[in-house]
Symmetry: D3
Subunit: 287 residues, 6 copies
């Protein structure tokens, strides 16, 4: 992938970072550094990728150190969305050693976490190359980090599903059961939702497909359906609705699901279970 | 493991849950449920483990639903620290269907995330059974979730390292370099830290062990040392300091490190990379 | 209108009300009531509509008094969405006179403001009866009150446009100019936005209609176009996109715009300039 | 009016603006602009009054854009308190097109709302020119915006009543009833309130005037009294207390009330029902 | 003193207490109690005054424990404003031992601090018995606790000065110097301040008294003036303004200042330097 | 004392100062200064110690004025930890007179309060010169100010006890009673607390000393013991645990307690009852 995906406004990110720094520093500050490292000590540092992967979260690294010490000189030498080799220097820093040591862990925790998600997403995207299927995320995110994790999915080449319960309609099996069918459920949702809201309906089998297509839903989720049924669904839908495959999608199954011709594959584990990318800060003290 | 580890005060947990619910519900609420499920619809539900694992986070589940609807009847049928089989019912719910649907994702996101950490920790603890080594966590946590993740580590049978930069001293290589040696670094830390603060110093090789022991540090971190060196360190220390093995500890290596006789093994991935435990909410609508 | 439109979750509303009460009570409380009305004084009260209108905001009234004093007995005798005559009793209260006096102004400020918006919206909806045109709101709202104001628009029989900048795409003249045309602008937006995001494009004249329709935008905004041009646009679009009339829509012009056959008419003044509905709290003290 | 009235401290205003920007931008930012307008695009813009009126809120405009992008060059070409003709340029902007588009709506929502209040207030002030009567506001404000709205009233040439329930005493009919008369009510309030707190008492008819004057109240509110009775009250009071006319004061009645010789006329609708002043941002993109 | 002075609304107090409890409990809770005291342990406790004094802050004690555990039975056996002997039981508690231990310190810190202020104030009030002088506080308060401290002053029998910079005008020497005299300073303040705002002016000597009286200021502060000059000022003012003695008022000097006939004596040290009243929680564990 | 003790991170301090400024300025700003002092007025000022003492809190002074007006030139001419004579200039300021007047009280309230604590602590430290005893603080602090007050104790030459309930274990009499003795109490605490947590146990008499020493507690608190018993405890402990004298330590008794040979003396009144140090801001207006 080339080009840096657009990030989130600093105004929305900075309160998160302030809270993360307070989590690490409160109530008394970095007592190790304050007692051992004299005020005025200057250092140079490099944030390095210790494993191959796709980078996401450099804006958070920048903001973390700037919030601690605006005087720290920080040069970002990679960009979000870059695929880097093990050992690549991502950021160089020069300035107050105390600020560098105090911000290190928060900066790396963000960078490792988001790069891990981007890297996992990238893997799924690569596995579906040549198909029409996009990889997208779910609401199975870590509480409090959804906007950041969904950003990392975009950096990984994936696409975002709805952000939360209020920005799009997703009618699931329980909703259908209560409403007495797909048709009345979609009708009720259309009546309440404004014209800028998309409506998706989940079906468990081919038997529900015709009703779902007729209901006027924008998107139909094929939940835990067999590959054969997904293929049939694609053939029958003929583009009248976006088709999203969902449910227990492992890395191993992504390619074969994509081959059925579905438009989207939504995957929970790229946000809730992607392992961190190993990143580290190497510091040289200059005095 | 038997017995439920002591959790965190509701006063500290509830603001987190409120923020997590707002993240999912703001700004306009669950537009699907509000439009499709009539007010007053009653449902029964069961939260079920879809995989074997150790459970952590049931208090968060309880608080999530109580904050949404105090009238919902919720019975917790497992307890934090329980090792459950696939299919075990963890919680049963009965009451307003809308509240159940609105809280589902937040409750499961917490429960799956923390149970994942507890399960990963449990694995490392099991691998070191019969040794003196305890498994402990690090500050490599997801920003904003540290207290919860450290709780999950305890539920998994692990032990907690310091919470953050202000509650204990950990003198690392950079601190030592600036201070001009372990001895002056520990001395400076002792002078500033109160008598209720423990002091740990990190060493990279056996050559630093004697100085570390002599410095009066409470704990010595053996960073990325070979198994042979760790054994030697244990033999030389003779209990004069707690010895903590650290650095690139994979699941495969936990047992052999524990066999060296160290007191603690600190592991970053149990908090930053543990995969979610699969949990789900099955809902029966009663009307 | 019959039936009470679904409101916002208490979890999202209560922080707003707490802030509103603090705005009125901080820092020292209601010094008049505390000095003049003895503790334990009991009162009865009635919230009354002093003018004809449509009611919105009764949940806020209920929450305001419950946050001040859970012991106050409050009976809501109308419902959001009701069209009431002058003099109609909306709420009766009985309990601590101090709580009643302390919450009065905040409760009425919410109720009068939101009922004013609902009433203004209702007027526009009535003016378009028998046409396909829905009345919808804009982002021209009072800062901090958007969710409440959009709710009031729904209560008034109107429909909601996007909530903010992040939940839907609206490509305006400046965006088109930068992108070099409607086609590339919509294409770029489609590439970034997920499949659950709707895309609207604004056009200033009929000359842009064909390109807009071809671009695949879900909605086309006809900005400040003449009635004749709107009719032509409706005829040419043939339902291929939702058509929204916008720009300087006064109460006097709503009906004739609706008669052109557009799907929606978006109106800023129903949120930013609707006059309050006059509501009051009459208190009888019982001692 | 000449001279710019003193505003509110930035420290108090900025949290409000941050919340307003987050309301519009959260959770994912301006997805239209981020996808369509390339990073680095430069634009020029002008905020223009589209109707005649008195301007209030330019500091909020300035802060909105500065919080989004400190690099944006913003020149304020009018001042709060200025009476401007339709078409007057109030602010010119030059800089990052993305920041300009992201801040546009929040800035205009504040400016239009507050200028609307200032303009409405100005009208009442003009109607009472040549009399001793000042126009003042009430606590009938939009929840959360009281400080801003009261500022706009001052900009409009009006005067502020008490801010909330804790900074001054206002004894109303219910208080008097509970206390058993004006005399004991004022006495109790005087005993509790410190020497820096003013005391106002509301009377419904001339029959209460003597007792109110004798009570030592600083201000007497003449609530819904006839013009004749107000004149009589002015004559009897002879300056022993400030007299405030209140209750159902429409624009049409302001002049005749002022002519009675009262000191103040308090009006709710200048804050709760003043229509927005129409302001807009015209943007020229430069590339 | 008899009768309990009216406190502050729970809505304003509870956020303070939540923050105080979090200060003590975050991030990991009371690790001593959680590890040593088994869940379900029941205890009885008594909060006792260990010294004679006037009690203030019992509402804060109640709220502290209720926020921790609504099931704790708490009986307040004294009341704010009571003068108690050493050994008096103020509160009895029965219930969960863990909640009792966790809330102990926060509850006592509030109670001891506010009772200390009330006791100090009471001493000054007693020293001025039989004179017209009231004791009042200043803005020399502990940051963040002003509303509570001013409440404690009232409990002590004192009176409150203005709360902060925005609710009343106090023109000091620097203001006078800039304005070019008392007359223009007061005139400018009157023009801006609404009719519900009191105006005080500070004078350093008798030479300024006539101008201050003529200016129409409601209150005149006699700053660091001699007893003789204060007496002269009282004689000359003849009640045309409230006279407040201020500046370096020690406990020893209160009586002689009061004897001059001034209306008020404002004292900084009753809020910023009053020693704690010794209070303790005695716990009996019941199992 | 020489050398400035390390302070708290600005990131943690600034939210406190913002709240303190809002407490003084909200909701309407400094109405005196805004009405009397023209915009653009320039002033010079000096913060002066009006009594001898040790200074603490200059960083808070700096932050207070910088948050109000970054353009104010502020020169700190003393440093935290300095012992200054009466009349010493601590800070000089030059710039906008309005900002200087608005920040004066908050800055002085912090500086006087913290310097008072530092001065009181210094006195106790001086009284124990030549002994091994350090002076330390307790959790008897003013709610919300604990981190600042503990910092001031360090500036005064004292040492900090644990910050709160979660960073160290302190087993008191009630805990021992519930646990059934010191031995099981310490054992339970050791099992739960991580290896970075120190454990202290309180004993009331010599009879408990042996068990406490044998329990492996790091610190033993000698609670309200006689001087003779403390000496005996010191002799028996022989350095196997840190010994802390606690309970009713007045200034008069500090020296004799230190003479017993204990390692620490913890004192509540240095935080909860230390009188303010008198500091003032003298302003010269320049125009």
């Amino acid at each position: 992938m080339t080009g840096e995906p657009d990030g989130l406004p600093p105004l929305l990110i900075e309160p998160l970072i302030r809270a993360a720094l307070a989590e690490d520093l409160a109530p008394n500050g970095d007592i190790t550094t304050l007692s051992v490292v004299p005020q005025g000590t200057v250092a140079q540092g490099r944030i390095v990728a210790r494993a191959e992967g796709r980078i996401a979260g450099l804006d958070l690294v920048r903001s973390t150190f700037r919030l601690l010490d605006p005087g720290l000189r920080l040069t970002v030498t990679a960009q979000d969305g870059a695929d880097v080799a093990k050992g690549t220097v991502l950021v160089t820093l020069e300035g107050d050693a105390r600020a560098m040591l105090q911000g290190e862990r928060v900066a790396l925790n963000y960078l490792g976490h988001l790069s891990g998600i981007a890297t996992a997403t990238r893997g799924c995207v690569a596995a579906t190359a040549g198909t029409r299927a996009k990889i997208c995320c779910t609401r199975k995110t870590t509480p409090g980090l959804r906007a950041l994790q969904k950003y990392a999915v975009r950096v990984g080449g994936g696409s975002n599903h709805r952000f939360g319960l209020s920005d799009a309609v997703l009618i699931k099996d329980n909703h259908i059961a209560v409403a007495g069918g797909i048709t009345p459920a979609v009708a009720r949702a259309k009546q309440r939702a404004g014209h800028m809201i998309k409506i998706e309906v989940e079906i468990d089998g081919l038997g529900q497909l015709d009703e779902a297509l007729a209901s006027g839903a924008d998107v139909i989720m094929l939940d835990n359906m067999s590959l054969a049924d997904m293929k049939t669904a694609v053939a029958k839908a003929k583009g009248r609705a976006v088709l999203e495959a969902s449910g227990g999608v492992t890395a191993a199954r992504v390619a074969e699901i994509a081959a059925t011709g579905v438009d989207l594959i939504s995957i929970g584990w790229i946000t809730h279970s992607a392992p961190n990318l190993d990143v580290a800060l190497d510091i040289d003290t200059l005095l």
